[in-house]
Amino acid sequence: MHPFAPVHGRELWIYIAAATAGWIALFALLHRLPLRHKRALTIALTFIAGLFYTLEFYLPAKSHWFPWWKNPLSDLIVPMGNAMNVIFGFTLALGLINLAMIHGRNIARKRPGWFNSAAFFAAMISMIVFGLWQTYTPDTNRPAALGLSCAQVHRVYDVLFNGLLQPLGATVFSILAFYMATAAFRAFRIRAAEAALMMASAFIVMLGQVPVGRALTNWLPAHGFYSQFRLERFMGWILNTWSMAGVRAVGFGLAVGGLSMALRIWLSLERGSFFEMRESKP
């Protein structure tokens, strides 16, 4: 029988247990290797992983000279993507553990403000509980559990999502508008000609975007040569020509820089304790 054929029932569990045991045994063996060999293994794996997408793209799909050629890696794109989706799905709880550790420590040591950490846990747990609960119960008046009806479960979730998560997140970020306003008055000093040029460009963009700025140059004709000097047109020209050229030039620099960074990672040329897998000192 094909080893990757689907299996069911008890057989499935045996397969899963065997695969898990095999995996653990493999890594228990690898763990005994000296660090040098572990590093060599990592270098090899990193290289192979990078090679996958590189060859998939740079090898042609079909070849004129070799009619039997077909890029073999293209068929693996879908399974690879689905596997990465799930692998990342499993790792995304890492951030949660980090947060739980910080706040758990605050509560355990009764640090000042520990009740805020308790509020963190209360909010997190109720979101998880009611989120899962409302997903798997229909929105009806039937009783669910704990004296709550199904509709009430949905209502609690509504409060958590639309009453807390949405307004809190939006408000926290909107505070930036206030910081911007005070910084405009207290910190944005035009000390050099460079900053003056920047501010001129910024003022044109700020005014050209909004009705009040556009109204300033309404007296200019809507067509013909002078229409180019209407604020909204002028702003569009700055964004699309002048500023665009600068942004694109910076982008080319970043692209080559990104390419070199990717090469360094792929070929394990990067230095530093993380990349060389050195044990950090206790």
């Binding site: 930036l176 910081y179 910190a187 900053a195 390419l259 070199s260 950090s280």
Partner: protein
């Protein structure tokens, strides 16, 4: 374009080989030059000012997490920490990421030890504050005012907190030096800080200070890569002009076709 054409693959190979070649040459001991970067010379001056005034220096990497950007910031921090140790100036480093925090402390301790001032190193001055953007921002602002810092350094990847930090530093009257690859935050540093290291200069700066052969070689290779891109743009523009002026001689922009456009 599901797969690269020959010209695209050749372009990628050319730039890739140049970069890797330069890195390997640098590692074999070939010395590469890095040009003077104005913002960097300001670092020594800014440390000197804090020493004269007898007030502390603040170094922040914003919300950076442990990655390549922050590792280059640590190279700059190491340089600043050695200067601070030499002059006996206090250095405060608030961090927003736990793994980065442990590495930061290690780097500072090493820098103080290298200057023979291991006992002057105060681990309390390297601190983890919070990984929440505004909680971190507010706490750093608090430190700036309480400790009356004379100099602020901003190196790393910054988000919206850059505005809050640079404003408070400016009000505190500190000399501020900033460098970040985050293009969107550079404008705020330009108006509120004294010296700004722009975009790619950030990577050059850390290579310059750390003298790490891999980074120096990579920088040289990137320069050649950028040179190739620039040469393509100039050549393509010349062909575009010829195409406009003599349409029957130059039928189309062949270079653009090779690159896969149109």
């Amino acid at each position: 374009m599901e797969h690269a054409n020959e010209f695209q693959a050749a372009l990628f190979l050319l730039i890739g080989i140049v970069i890797v070649g330069a890195i390997l040459m640098a590692r074999r001991g070939r010395a590469f030059h890095v040009r003077r970067i104005p913002g960097l010379s300001a670092i020594d001056e800014a440390v000197g000012r804090a020493t004269e005034m007898g007030r502390p220096i603040l170094f922040t990497m914003g919300l950076s997490v442990l990655d390549i950007v922050s590792m280059q910031a640590l190279a700059i921090l190491s340089h600043i920490a050695r200067l601070a140790a030499r002059f006996g100036t206090r250095l405060i480093v608030p961090v927003a990421d736990v793994p980065l925090y442990t590495l930061t402390e290690e780097i500072c301790r090493e820098a103080f030890t290298a200057e023979g001032k291991a006992d002057a190193f105060n681990p309390q001055d390297i601190m983890f504050l919070s990984d929440q953007q505004f909680a971190y921002g507010a706490a750093v602002v608090g430190i700036m005012h309480r400790e009356r810092v004379a100099t602020c350094f901003y190196f790393g990847y910054f988000y919206a907190e850059s505005l809050l930090l640079a404003e408070s530093g400016a009000i505190a009257g500190a000399v501020q030096v900033a460098g970040t690859p985050a293009t969107t935050q550079i404008p705020f540093f330009i108006v509120a800080a004294d010296y700004v290291i722009i975009g790619d200069e950030y990577y050059a700066g850390s290579a310059y200070l750390s003298r790490e052969p891999t980074l120096l070689g990579s920088l040289f290779g990137q320069d050649i890569g950028k040179g190739i891109v620039l040469a393509l743009i100039v050549a393509g523009s010349v062909i575009a002009v010829l195409h406009q002026l003599f349409p029957h001689l130059v039928r189309s922009n062949i270079l653009a076709k090779w690159l896969g456009a149109g």
